[in-house]
Amino acid sequence: MFARGLKRKSAEDGEDVEGGLAGTQATPSYSLQRQSLLDMSLVKLQLCHMLVEPNLCRSVLIANTVRQIQEEMTQDGTWRVLAPQAAGRAPLDRLVSTEILCRSVREQEGERPAADVGDGRTPGLVPGLSAVPSAQALRSPQSSLWEVDSSRENRGGFQKSLDQIFETLESKTPGSVEELFSDVDSSYYDLDAVLTGMVGSTQSGHGSGLQAFTAAATPPPGSSCRSDLGELDHAVEILVET
């Protein structure tokens, strides 16, 4: 991931931050970093502790971060239409700067991004998506396509995740934790399979066990996890039989 923290640098020469429009737009590396942050955040939200209830404060803070990224990416959808094509200059190591301020003004004027991610509707997305094709004309098709596709699928993806997260946090039903992993193979939260699969996990206590698990499961839960667990199950079977 990031070897260094992402710095916020003050506005550099040649950049008209005040104008807002031509300001610090999302250079490809910035979008990459932002995408990376989004992925990281989603992984963090989904890797909830299965033994102990998740830390609500941490989950809320991560969810808010995801929302912020979503709002900015939504704005980017319309933003790129108006922003002049980025010159291929050195990318800035910044996440957000005064852009946010400028964008909030835009928000009031025009479309509102999906502020309520809970209801599953994203009115703000529609104008954003429709504006994107024209953005493609401005930028190299390849990069903008990637950005559009990833942002689109991510909007769907993490809204679902956010819904699931907060339903789980509500903890109404005993199966609430399962809901969170409803799209994952059931062996995912078969604790024994997971924990015995951790070779070299010598420490007792659920805390350290989970940390080892977290460290091991760097890819987000999904098909790759299933195949890994399938192998683990197989390995455990062999061990048990001997």
Partner: protein, 481 residues
């Protein structure tokens, strides 16, 4: 204290104070022996006093200290750990043979406060980790404290027994019942001295009142009630009543999907029994008056510092989340700790803090890595000195920071076994933020983020501090007498 420069703002400005001050520290007001009034405002020289805990590198998770608290007199020092145990240290009486050394803290009582539980309804474990300990003011020979884990608060009575009765009529010395027909004479039992035994017994158990994880407890100045706060609610209890509590704050939204803010800490005002504050994950503090209504959802005062637009990032909200809030002893100020700074607020001014002290500003450029390894969610506590003239909080690499509010000087000290010679002065530490690293400085990238000092406590009257470094408890005193 050997200072590094002005308290405000970033990395070391101005010349370092060089070698630590000499043993003859300049005039700090001090009484003879251990009863000196707090020196606070003048320069202090901190020295190692004691360290408690195992030395070996392999730290058992259960031994990690999770809370530290002095009692009202400072004679008792309680620690709670992740294994649910409470260890209380008591300060020894002054030794006339060694008038220059302050009383040491030795183990007074150890007991298992909380056990791990399993919530069958949710299929989740409830950790036995002690989140907070709060002492009650002493009213008789026994000592009382409240200890809490995520779900249950317990009132413990710690009492001494140094006499036992001998000469019962109905039972033998070893407790066996005597045959009543054999008793031919009656005697009055007499009390005989015995070795001191300290017993801890749970007197009240306050359970089943919190759906979410308890983060704070605070005893009221009326000494009859206390509050407990979890992520979304704050409850008011009477110490005598365990089957009922009043909900005084509830920020749970009807639709949990709309949840964007949680309660992170709460505390009663030290003198006004109707006033309490609670902090949030968005960096705000609300002061509530219980006289206004039964449910204090509407605050009396709202403290928030306006955001600096030029430093906004995706991590702004996370680092603004307040991890601890503490009233000053005077009751006029309160202090909040967020990820990078400590702020002192005047209760009469809601618009912004009156002081801001940077704890480890050099981490601002590392926020993304700290987010990745979850360190950005570490909850540091902070504390006031007895006279409110100084404040202290922890950092990484077993560093902790002290800020003198009068002289505006700050210092970074380290809790480590290397500096563990008796009465050895602590040398100020410095983190190098860029450029050439001077000798004795440590670079940001070399900091050990697993060695975090989250919990510190300051003696209520004297300059004695307790610093919890993972599984070790360090006690430092200032070099007086």
């Amino acid at each position: 204290m050997a200072g590094e420069g002005p308290a405000r703002g970033g990395a070391g400005r101005g010349s370092r104070a060089g070698a630590a001050r000499g043993p003859d520290a300049p005039g700090v007001s001090a009484g003879a022996g251990g009863g000196g009034c707090p020196a606070g405002g003048n320069d202090l020289q901190w020295c190692f006093s004691q360290v408690k805990g195992a030395i070996d590198e392999d730290v058992a998770e259960a031994d990690i200290i999770s809370t530290v608290e002095f009692n009202y007199s400072g004679d008792l020092l309680a620690t709670g750990d992740k294994g649910g145990r409470v260890v209380i240290f008591q300060r020894e009486q002054e030794n006339k043979g060694r008038p220059h050394s302050r009383g040491e803290y030795n183990v007074y009582s150890t007991f298992q406060s909380h056990e791990p539980e399993f919530d069958y309804l949710k299929s989740l474990e409830i950790e036995e980790k002690i989140n907070k300990i709060r002492w009650l003011p002493q009213q008789n020979a026994a000592h009382f404290l409240l200890s809490t884990n995520d779900k249950t608060i317990k009132l413990w009575k710690i009492s001494e027994r140094d006499k036992r009765a001998e000469g019962y009529n109905l039972k033998d010395e070893d407790g066996r019942l005597r045959d009543p027909f054999r008793i031919t004479a009656l005697r009055v039992p007499i009390l005989k001295p015995m070795d001191l035994m300290v017993e801890a017994s749970p007197r009240r158990i306050f359970a089943n009142a919190h759906t979410y994880h308890i983060n704070s407890i605070s005893v009221n100045s009326d000494h009859e009630t206390y509050l407990s706060a979890d992520d979304l609610r704050i409850n008011l209890w009477h110490l005598e009543i365990t089957d009922r509590s009043f909900n005084i704050v509830d920020i749970k939204p009807v639709n949990m999907e709309e949840l964007t803010e949680v309660i992170t800490a709460a505390e009663f005002h030290p003198h006004q029994c109707n006033v309490f504050v609670y902090s949030s994950s968005k960096g705000t503090i609300r002061l509530c008056d219980m006289r206004s209504s039964a449910l204090c959802d509407r605050h009396a005062k709202f403290f928030e510092e306006p955001e600096d637009p030029s430093s906004r990032s995706f991590f702004s909200e996370i680092i603004s989340s307040i991890s601890d809030v503490k009233f000053s002893h005077s009751g006029r100020y309160m202090m909040t700790r967020d990820y990078l700074s400590v702020k002192v607020w005047d209760l009469n001014m809601e618009s912004r803090p009156v002081e801001t002290h940077q704890v480890h500003e050099y981490l601002r450029s590392k926020l993304c890595s700290l987010y990745e390894n979850d360190c950005i969610f570490d909850k540091f506590e902070c504390c006031w000195s007895g006279s409110d003239s100084a404040i202290m909080t922890g950092s990484y690499n077993n560093f902790f920071r002290m800020f003198d509010r009068n002289t505006r000087r700050d210092v970074t000290l380290e809790a480590s076994r290397e500096n563990s010679k008796p009465r050895a002065s602590l040398k100020p530490r410095k983190v190098c933020t860029g450029g050439k690293r001077k000798k004795d400085e440590i670079s940001v990238d070399s900091l050990d983020f697993n060695k975090k000092i989250l919990h510190t406590a300051w003696h209520p009257a004297e300059n004695i501090i307790a610093v919890a470094a993972t599984n070790n408890l360090y006690i430092f005193q200032d070099k007086l007498n």
